[in-house]
Amino acid sequence: MSKVLSAQHIIKNYGKKQVLHDVNIDIEPGVIYGLIGRNGAGKTTLLSILTAQNTWNEGSVTYGGAPVWENETALADICFSRELSPTMMFGENTYKVRDYLKAAATYYPHWDSAYADRLVQRFGLETKKKISKLSKGMMSMVTIILAMASRAPITILDEPVAGLDVVAREDFYKLLLEDYTETHRTFIISTHIIEEAANVFEKVIIMKDGAIAEVAETESFVASFSFVSGREEDVADVCARLGASKVLRTEHFGRQTGVALRVSPSTAQQAAEGLSVDISPVNLQKAFVYMVGEKEDISC
């Protein structure tokens, strides 16, 4: 339960295109990680490499110090529940849900079939249906059930909530925390629906352009951003006092200027001493957008 999954200096090329550039990360046991990044940032590629489901060109991936490639212990301990699709490499995905879960039971040694059955009931999933006949939401449920029932010490979910409605999404977070408070296993969850999951993640991994931009505790990460708005001159003074490197984005609306800053709201407050500006904290989604979005000025 206490092994670290570690990627060191991973480089991955697809043809001539390098999609991961020198990625380094340690996945610590017992933490729920949120993996966020824009489309094409390399999230799924990294996850498939961490779980030895994809090759890489340079670097190493180890689990408890041993290479993951063709390592049975690692493969038994790590579950990567990928997004399902109605088609497979050679045509329609004609597996029935029941058979898909049965196959998983033989693949994952920690498989908990009673738990899988409970989840099937909870989601109201029809196990006789073929995967190709499932709705997007039901496919998400199958990937979630597979991940949860695998009981793998490291469980990885790639976009688990993408197809789910808001009620099912909330149910998933609840389910996840119910399981986590019992097992304290490691989860890595990639998602584009950031804000509602922010409170679930102990740490966030931010990917940008095939590299890891930051790994941090969610709370302290969010607290290291602020938004300052007010008269253009006053806001410019605040920015000058803090230094241009702290300014992530500038927005203009009429005579008002707003800047996103990579400093805590209290640091911004100190820099704004004697100036009439409004300072507000930001949420995880905004922090992410400021960090990976365009830096240029935006006028509205």
């Binding site: 925390l177 409170n199 102990e202």
Partner: protein
């Protein structure tokens, strides 16, 4: 405990505040058991580490204490401690802001005092 989280304040601070509110309102009684980290995590869909941070804050302030192997409990005198703490914060967080806003609106000190007296009368607060 009820309610949703708001943006802006750290979730662990909001957890601590919700627990304090429940103690003030008597939902949680002194020497009574407080929710555990896991219960809070499940009830609010938050990471248990965040819930722990909120609880530890109240433990450091002597408002909650841990009984080994049983769980978290509300300290004797915990309610009084919260009241004292909030009174001290009242000037910094409410009064100063009130005065700043009054100034920005051109409300004189005399007018402000009259408003406070009026509001106090409507609320039926302590007037001694």
């Amino acid at each position: 405990m009820t309610g949703n989280f708001s943006d802006g304040t750290s979730i662990y601070l909001q957890i601590a505040e919700m627990l304090e509110n429940d103690i003030l309102r008597g939902v949680l009684e002194e020497e009574g058991q407080a929710p555990s980290t896991n219960e809070l995590a499940r009830a609010y869909s938050i990471n248990p580490a965040t819930a722990t941070k909120g609880i530890n804050l109240l433990v450091d302030e002597g408002i909650l204490y841990k009984r080994r192997g049983i769980g978290m409990f509300v300290s004797k005198g915990g309610r009084q401690r919260i009241m004292q703490k909030r009174k001290e914060a009242f000037f910094e967080t409410y009064v100063k802001r009130l005065v700043r806003e009054a100034k920005a609106l051109g409300i004189t000190q005399k007018e402000l005092a009259a408003m406070l007296t009026k509001a106090g009368g409507e609320q039926g607060g302590n007037n001694e």
